[in-house]
């Protein structure tokens, strides 16, 4: 087990390096560096541009040096908690991202758990009651869930809430808690708001999981060992839980890995529609105003989180299914 975990962690390193390279390229993509846009913005508002400040900034981010030097300076800075400067907010990026990133993790984790809780019983039901009315309606709903863009579901939900209940469903906190420091009451309030974005984001993933579990369980249910057990008089419920389900659940766990990028993707766009205080809206604003250090840091950290989540699911999988460890 230890060797397996170590190998997985080692596999992660090239991925992380690649992610940082891609993020750096994204930062460099817009024409001109962030300093040029910063100066342009300053002169637009009529402020005088201080030559000394510019020179200092230029030196700090190595903008007068070749790309690879800039890249290593950027990486080096990150190890010291310096993610660069957001010129739009005129604050260090590191001050802006952590709380939002934390909330993104909270929303994504909650979504992941919710997709599991919803899809597990439904997938089981669909497999054990194949071709029943319930199976057909869940399959149909699943297809709709897969085909509808996340933001459409969010819009429709907001529309219904607005026109039927006259309430807004956006945001993660009640108004009195938005600016309040973290407390138990604020946490409970967040949990109350969390389920709507979680359902919206998890819709597509849930549909996929239901289909996976249904297909796997159906494969298992017709195998001879199940028939043997049934012939020996094992009660149906115990039979299902003890044997086929344990085999069918393995792909279920491995899907955590690939459903995580989807959830983070969905979170980004749903957060914009539902105006959640997570990374999505800030990333969008940063990209629109070409605030590239902020955008690049977000993309890099989101990707890091996804890779980390995949690692956890891999380790979980190795723990559940011994065959994986010796592959």
């Amino acid at each position: 087990m230890f060797g397996y975990v170590l190998r997985r962690i080692l596999y992660m390193i090239p991925t992380l390096v690649l992610i940082s390279v891609v993020s750096f390229i994204i930062i460099q993509l817009p024409p001109g560096d962030f300093l040029t846009s910063y100066i342009a913005q300053l002169s637009q508002t009529g402020e005088t541009v201080d030559e000394a400040t510019i020179a200092a900034l230029k030196h700090r981010y190595g903008l007068d040096q070749p790309y690879y030097v800039q890249f290593f300076m950027w990486i080096w800075g990150m190890f010291h908690g310096d993610f660069g400067q957001s010129f739009e907010w005129n604050r260090p990026v590191s001050q802006l991202i952590w709380e939002r990133l934390g909330l993104t993790v909270a929303v994504s984790t909650f979504t992941l758990i919710l997709t599991w809780i919803i899809s597990f019983p439904i997938g089981m039901y669909s497999a054990t009651h194949q071709y029943s009315a319930g199976d057909y309606s869940f399959t149909f709903l699943g297809y709709i869930g897969l085909a509808t863009p996340n933001f459409m579901i969010a819009l429709i939900l907001m529309w219904i809430a607005y026109s039927v209940f006259g309430a807004s469903v956006g945001g993660l906190f009640s108004p009195q808690y938005v600016e309040a420091p973290w407390s138990w009451a604020k946490f409970v309030d967040m949990l109350g708001h969390l389920w709507i974005p979680a359902i919206v984001i998890g819709m597509g993933g849930t549909a996929g999981l239901i289909r996976t579990l249904r297909a796997n369980l159906l494969d298992e249910l017709h195998k001879p060992y199940v028939i043997t057990a049934r012939a020996k008089g094992v009660p149906e419920r115990r039979l299902l839980w003890r044997y086929p389900l344990r085999v069918a659940i393995i792909p279920f766990i491995s899907t955590v890995g690939w459903s995580l990028p989807g959830i983070i993707s969905g979170e980004t766009i749903v957060a914009v529609v539902l105006s959640l205080p997570t990374t999505g809206p800030l990333l969008l604003r940063a990209l629109q105003s070409q605030d590239m250090y902020l955008a690049g840091s977000f993309i890099m950290l989101l990707s890091f989180l996804t890779v980390l989540g995949t690692l956890i699911s891999d380790i979980l999988l190795g723990w559940v299914d011994p065959r994986i460890r010796y592959e």
Partner: protein, 375 residues
């Protein structure tokens, strides 16, 4: 008597069996595919949607950019076929417009006194069919009054016409994007599956890497980097390339696994022993035998492209007005209050859902039919 019937029966069975043995692979696939009613229906709906997209200039009653401030946020006009209990030529009622004194919003009500019959092949706004032939005949339209079958937007533009024009961009971006991913996937996946070794290992790592990063933030970043002063056509191709930069990985995986399993087949070995060139082995023997899989997979990856474009344009990072796509149209529906008052602004989304659903059903049917020898 009974004997004769039996002989007759046997004869029938042998001909059916012979038919199966004699049929080509594509015929077998078609026979299997035909049994999927849902896939057939989806295919027909998709053909209709693409016909809409191809002939959108002719089929739309109005110029999609023609605005009319007298009819902002007008609701859809219903088509009636009965008047005074008699069946007549289909017609719509005109609007009776009142002003809400409190919200200062216009309230539209159908006015039974204004009857506008709908005609076929009506002269209307001039357009250029496929950007070439100047025409002004529209498939449907009214000679006086208005016909807004799906309502209008904030500038009084006809939603039906705009959705038809949007279909052209949104559905074609899926096709072109998938074509690009297919070319990339076939080349990269083919090489890595056929030759294996270090290159294969490298490609596998790259694919794993691309799949492990969340797509929407990456797409957002890349499309935000497209220069805003580019002409619409170039933005369109830029977005397509960005979408397929990630989309090729899925196809490459399928191609690779097919190559890996086919490489060991006897007929490939036989071809090699006879001295066929590698190019000939690949193009003549291997590709045709997994083409059906590839087609099924291509069909299943088009929806991702369409959804990607819609999401990006909705956020304002993809295509931008005056280009008309379903995502661009949905930008109008970003405000909940606007949606609550004029829900027909969400209709482009309904078209997205229908298209994606149909591609999924069609792809599922094709995938089941792709291997006619499977039991």
């Amino acid at each position: 008597m009974a004997d004769e019937e039996l002989v007759e029966q046997e004869k029938l069975e042998t001909t059916v069996e012979e038919k199966i043995y004699l049929a080509s692979q594509w015929q077998l696939i078609w026979w299997r595919f035909r049994r999927h009613k849902l896939a057939i229906i989806s295919g027909i709906i998709l053909i209709i949607i693409y016909l809409f997209a191809i002939f959108c200039e002719f089929l739309s009653p109005y110029d999609p950019n023609k605005y009319d401030i007298r009819y902002t946020y007008a609701p859809p006009q219903k088509i009636h076929i009965f008047r005074d209990g008699k069946l007549v030529r289909p017609f719509v009622y005109g609007y009776k417009i009142e002003l809400d004194q409190q919200t200062l919003r216009r309230i539209y009500k159908p006015d039974p006194n204004q009857v506008y019959p709908i005609y076929l092949f009506v002269k209307g706004d001039p357009y250029k069919l496929w950007g070439k032939w100047e025409k002004d005949t529209h498939f449907i339209g009214v000679k006086e009054g208005t016909v807004f079958l799906l309502g209008t937007d904030r500038m009084g533009r006809d939603m039906f016409s705009r959705i038809l024009y949007g279909a052209r961009i949104s559905t074609s971006i899926g096709l072109i994007g998938v074509f690009l991913s297919f070319v990339l996937g076939l080349i990269i996946g083919g090489f890595s599956g056929y030759y294996g070794g270090i290159f294969d290992n490298f490609v596998q790592r790259v694919i794993e890497f691309i799949r492990s990063i969340p797509t929407i933030p990456l797409w957002m970043a890349l499309s935000a980097a497209l220069p805003p002063h580019w002409p619409p056509v170039r933005i369109y191709f830029g977005i397509t390339i960005i979408l397929s930069l990630i989309g090729w990985t899925g196809l490459a995986r399928v191609v690779r696994s097919r190559f890996l399993s086919l490489r060991e087949e006897d007929f490939v070995m036989a071809a090699r022993l006879v001295g066929a060139s590698e190019w000939r082995i690949i193009m003549r023997h291997m590709v045709p035998s997994f083409m059906s899989y590839i087609i099924a997979n291509i069909t299943l990856s088009i929806p991702g492209m369409i959804l990607g474009e819609t999401s990006l344009s909705f956020l304002g990072l993809g295509l931008r007005p005056p280009t008309i796509s379903w995502g661009v149209l949905l930008q109008e529906a970003q405000n909940v209050r606007t949606v609550a008052l004029s829900p027909w602004l969400l209709l482009p989304g309904v078209f997205v859902i229908i298209t994606v659903l149909c591609f999924n059903f069609l792809g599922d049917g094709l995938r089941d039919a792709a291997d006619p020898y499977a039991r």
